[in-house]
């Protein structure tokens, strides 16, 4: 019951007027950026990063957590009303949600996704309360080689398991690792990849990388595709649900939460796979399978619950291990480093107030979101009428200001532009952004852990493969990388055996690829 006591302590820290105000600001901004396609919580957190360096760490984290949860709520609104997913995790919601909206049931679709998100978000946050301390206890006992193996597993997860293509994922990861090593080597003091430019000796600040890739890259991408026919306004009433809607929604909510949380909590999680699994499960279990494809409420309730639970789940590896599995968590980690707090297994022991206050703020933010979203849904839908030039001019302004504020040197603005062009090129060639950001943030960490392991053994490579935890991780990595080969061989052998089901949901990525190909979303947000 230690957890509950600590959580209550967290509540008492959060429940001050200024913190509540920051939480409200976070969820409002989060919902707004979630509604707008292409602008997601990750970009917003990156843009706000320089501003939060002036705040207390706890207030900054409350703000970011509000944006993370708010983005999940807002994304569903766009999916339902516009059939353009605001977030990659809302792709599945669009399938049934937009059909419901077109048949005049937009209010019910919005209601089931908002209430489902609340239920799943609350359950997911409870999951953090109970799951995180044991994970921390386990993680503290790990040595450098095991920790290295877990980070490498995360790399494999975000590159090979998530996203449509392994090669593209690995390319993006490599780009990220390359950006991560720029600067002075911390062991030997040599300059690496600086090209003799003195400003690069300190490395490239994560703010510049994140803002360049997310904000400038996205703005350039939109500028290249500015002209698109406008959609029609779908009238949104105040969201409400009838008795039969409740009866058909509550089970998918719980099932979605149960599917989403574990996937989010895995070091190779993400929200796409559980939303898809939830959709498939609801389709199989539904008493009205004929309605699927024509606006079945279960197909909105389940995936929406799953993506919120998974957003909660991603905070477990982030807080317990210092490992981000989505882009927003990655930038939250960068923010922690910016405040001089070392993320990792020791975070909970060193900064218990911070962690528990963050978790308490999640409960509060989630409740605020429900209150904010049910009555205000029509107002959020109005955001879609903002002309793109206004929107992106604002984003570019904040991006440049943020990048300049880091070191107050004009050089960073050039760097921002170069990284923005890189972000544009990545979108053009379909490279996912998440592996790059994870690479930039975890790259230096991997290097440190790897070298520490090698120093411990005096340079013997066997030192990298110590302990059963490491063995399991390396086994999973090899499995994930070799899986396409295995399934290829199996498919060739037996034509009737259609690929087979992977032990860890190996079919997920293929199905996901289809969904992604079906709806045109650039993979910039996670």
């Amino acid at each position: 019951m230690d957890n509950i006591t600590s959580l209550l302590g967290g509540f008492s820290d959060v429940l001050s007027p200024i913190n509540l105000l920051i939480a409200l600001l976070g969820v409002t901004v989060g919902t707004a950026v979630g509604v707008l396609p292409g602008i997601g919580p990750a970009m917003t957190v990156a843009l706000l990063l320089p501003i939060t360096y002036g705040l207390e760490p706890i207030q900054g984290l409350i703000l970011f957590a509000g944006i993370l949860y708010g983005g999940m709520y807002g994304g569903s609104t766009t999916s339902i009303l516009l059939n353009t997913p605001g977030e990659s995790s809302s792709v599945v919601t669009a399938i049934e949600g937009n059909k419901m909206a077109k048949s005049g049931r937009a209010a019910q679709a919005l209601a089931t996704s908002a209430i489902g998100s609340f239920v799943a978000g609350t359950l997911g946050t409870l999951g953090i309360v109970f799951l995180m301390p044991p994970v921390v206890k386990f993680a503290v006992s790990l040595g450098a080689p095991e920790y290295l193996a877990i980070i490498l597993l995360t790399f494999t997860g975000v590159t090979a398991v998530l996203g449509a293509s392994r090669i593209r994922g690995l390319t993006a990861l490599l780009l990220g690792l390359t950006i991560g090593v720029v600067g002075i080597d911390f062991v030997t003091g040599q300059q690496r990849l600086t090209g003799g430019v003195p400003q690069l000796a300190d490395g490239i600040d994560i703010v510049v990388v994140a803002v360049g890739i997310f904000a400038v890259g996205e703005a350039l991408w939109v500028a290249a595709h500015l002209r698109r026919k406008a959609g029609e306004v779908i009238p949104v009433g105040r969201p409400w649900m009838g008795r039969s809607d409740w009866a058909r929604s509550w089970k998918p909510w719980l099932r979605g939460a149960a599917l989403g949380f574990p996937f989010g909590a895995l070091p190779a999680g993400g929200a796409e796979i559980p939303t898809l699994l939830s959709y498939t499960a609801e389709k199989k279990l539904s008493k009205h399978p004929e309605e699927f494809g024509h606006g079945a409420i279960e197909g909105v309730a389940g995936p929406e619950a799953a993506n919120n639970a998974s957003a909660a789940g991603t905070l477990v590896p982030m807080l317990a291990l210092g490992l981000p599995t989505n882009a927003t968590a990655a930038i939250m980690l960068a923010a922690l480093q910016g405040w001089g707090i070392e993320p990792g297994p020791l975070l909970l022991n060193k900064e218990p107030e911070l962690v528990w206050a963050l978790i308490a703020s999640l409960f509060i933010g989630n409740t605020m979101l429900l209150l904010l979203n049910l009555p205000l849904a029509p107002a959020w839908a109005k955001l879609l009428q903002i002309p793109r030039p206004y929107l992106y001019a604002g984003i570019l302004f904040f991006a440049s200001m943020g990048a300049y504020a880091v070191n107050s040197q004009p050089f960073d603005l050039w760097l921002l532009l170069v990284l923005g062009l890189l972000g544009f090129a990545m979108r053009r060639f379909g490279l996912p952004v998440l592996p790059l950001i994870v690479g930039v943030i975890l790259g230096p960490l991997v290097e440190r852990q790897g070298r520490r392991s090698l120093q411990l053994t005096g340079g013997d490579l066997n030192g990298l493969i110590g302990g059963p935890v490491a063995w399991v991780c390396y086994f999973l990595i090899v499995l994930a990388l070799v899986w396409p080969l295995i399934s290829l061989v199996r498919r060739r052998r037996g034509g009737s055996d259609k690929g087979g089901r992977g032990p860890d949901g190996g079919r997920g990525p293929d199905d996901l690829a289809n969904v992604k190909a079906g709806t045109s979303i650039n993979s910039s947000e996670a």
Binding site: L36, P37, L226, R227, A230, G231, E232, V233, P389
Partner: protein
Amino acid sequence: MTVLVGFVPNPLGEAALTAAVAEARRRDEPLLVVNMSRDDVLVDAHRAGQEQLDIVRRDLEDLGMEFEVRRVEEGGDAAQVILDVAEAEQASVIVIGLRHRSPVGKLLLGSAAQRILLDATCQVLAVKES
């Protein structure tokens, strides 16, 4: 010579259309209905759906009018589009709906109706919602 009406799917647009029909009959000229939606926003409240345009077409057919319904989907400036079409079609009169705007609203967003009134080379009939 034609009567050009800027149509939007709301009561104001209906009022403008009704006035345009009367004007076209009085002048004995064909009617050109233009619905403009911007291409730099995700959704545009001024965009008339296919269904709404079909209703307009049916109503005008029932009235026995000579007419054309045109949808413009490019560009970001409704006033400019209406003015360009008026020039190209040599419209004798432009019919637009005029809505009350507060001073702050005008300051923030400008007014398409105001620009048409000031910049048009032909006559302009401004209609208030009845």
